[in-house]
């Protein structure tokens, strides 16, 4: 794969995250009963950043959980290589919460389907909303995001890579294409 174009740089990512934080507060009329759950791995980093922004805006601490969806996938064997099972850490009660699920890229929607199945095993939130840094289209399931950092039209042959300080030592979103 070679890089076709850079879509977001460090500042653009941070502005997008800040805007999502504002939109979450606006849509939920504040932060009461609000909680965030990020999908491993990069969704967790973005969720923590959104929580940081909400803290700045409203001076309120929002609980952040981490969800690993490997055990709920519908493509266990098809996945490129074998997915490593990582820890799910949701150490707060999600019953009756306004839960915002966070991921880096929204593509086919299958990851979100798996995440919804997993979340429902943990309890019955009042509502589940979806926030993603990038929506690249090509949905295969009736799923949409409530909060989107950036819509990026892509071809199925391309890949979108989100690189974050926490895991990749850099801050950017790029479109990759096959050589």
């Amino acid at each position: 794969m070679r890089e076709k174009a850079k879509i977001l740089d460090k500042e653009a990512i941070s502005r997008a995250v800040m805007r999502i934080a504002h939109e979450i507060i606006e849509k939920n009329s504040g932060t009461d009963a609000l909680c965030l759950v990020g999908i491993r791995n990069r969704g967790v980093y973005i969720a923590r950043r959104i929580a940081g922004c909400i803290k700045k805006i409203e001076d309120r601490d929002i609980p952040v959980g981490a969800l690993d969806i490997t055990l709920y996938r519908d493509d266990l064997a098809l996945a490129s290589g074998q997915p490593t099972v990582r820890k799910t850490e949701i150490d707060f009660d999600i019953n009756d919460k306004k839960l915002v699920l966070v991921d880096d890229v929204l593509y086919t929607g299958r990851t979100i389907r798996a995440a919804l199945d997993a979340l429902i095993d943990f309890g019955r939130p009042n509502s589940i909303q979806l926030a993603v840094l990038v929506d690249r289209g090509h949905r295969e399931l009736p799923i949409r995001a409530d909060f989107v950092g950036k819509n990026i039209p892509t071809s199925k042959k391309e890949a979108v890579e989100v690189r974050l300080e926490e895991s990749d030592n850099t801050e950017e979103v790029a479109i990759m294409e096959k050589d």
Partner: protein, 310 residues
């Protein structure tokens, strides 16, 4: 690092990285058993068969619980009430189970090497739940997992294994696993229960329990299997307790935080006193809990490897 094997037969055959992958995967699975709904759909539609040629409650139940928490269907075959009694061979039994489109056979057998033989004959996964005096890999993995959880690492630890080393598959699997991960292992037993050549596996030997406990970070106390005693090989039970039994008095001379493990079922007053079994250093029941996570990890990894190949 990914897992490529359809079977788990013993720790002798695994690399350090593969053992670590199982332990890391088990660490992730541990949380599932703390949920209100203790179940994930990872092995939905898969069938696991417990094929036990030897009596076992805890290992069989542990595997059954593990498989069910992964949403697999579980079938238990007790060989005393099966066609094995009519003379069916192990391979024939295995091929019949395979023909039923089961995905995993979890087998306990009294012959060393039985799991290896069955795995070669079948395309489906075979998980060794103990074969003769050979290996009991999931028991060693759960011992090591518990030790790592308690002490934060395995490398450099002094681990003493005490009991009937000669006839113990738990000891063998522990020796393989612990030495691969960099622990220093001492095996302690009456001379006649120390197998000839055991030093070649990289362990120290001792027949003095107080010496063997002196620098130990952990002691794994094996069950004395008097039911296997076919003659004069075993010391008298009371004599054994006096010479090798783990008591409060003996522990008082060991490291203060020494971890005491036992694969169960315990013979109280033979391998260890009740005071020790129920004491602050004992992690025996944590081992049971961790066994579920370790077996979930093993079942998940072998099933995934087989699917990836298909």
């Amino acid at each position: 690092m990914s897992w490529m094997r359809k079977d788990l037969l013993g720790l002798e055959y695994l690399t350090r990285e593969e053992i670590e992958l199982i332990l890391d995967t088990a660490d992730s699975f541990k949380e599932v058993s703390t949920r209100e709904i203790k179940k994930v759909p990872a092995l939905r539609g898969k069938t696991a068969v417990n094929l036990f040629y030897e009596p076992s409650t805890r290992t069989r139940v542990s595997f059954e619980v593990a498989a069910k928490r992964l949403s697999a269907d579980v079938i238990n075959i007790a060989t005393e009430t099966s066609s094995v009694r009519k003379g069916e061979t192990l391979i024939d039994t295995g091929k019949n189970i395979q023909a039923l489109k089961a995905d995993i056979i979890i087998m306990r057998h009294n012959c060393s090497g039985a799991a290896n033989m069955l795995a070669r004959a079948l395309d489906i996964s075979v998980v060794n739940a103990g074969d003769g005096w050979h290996e009991h890999p999931t028991q060693a993995l759960l011992d090591i997992f518990t030790l790592k959880e308690k002490l934060g690492k395995i490398k450099g630890l002094n681990v003493t294994i005490v009991g009937d080393i000669a006839h113990s598959r738990v000891a063998r699997s522990n020796i393989w696993g612990l030495t691969k991960l960099g622990a220093k292992v001492t095996v302690c037993a009456p001379e006649m229960l120390l197998p000839v050549g055991i030093e070649k596996t990289g362990v120290k030997t001792s027949s003095n329990i107080d010496e063997a406990l002196k620098n130990a970070d952990a002691v794994n106390v094996l069950r004395m299997q008097f039911e296997r005693d076919e003659g004069a090989a075993f010391p008298e039970q009371l004599d054994y307790f006096k010479r090798f039994g783990i008591t409060g008095e003996r522990l008082a001379k060991a490291k203060k935080d020494i971890v005491v493990m036992h694969p169960g079922p315990i013979n109280r007053g033979i391998e260890m006193s009740s005071e020790v079994a129920d004491g602050a250093n004992s992690v025996i029941l944590e081992q049971v809990t961790n066994g579920i996570a370790v077996r979930m990890a093993v079942l998940f990894l072998v099933a995934q490897a087989r699917e990836a190949k298909a």
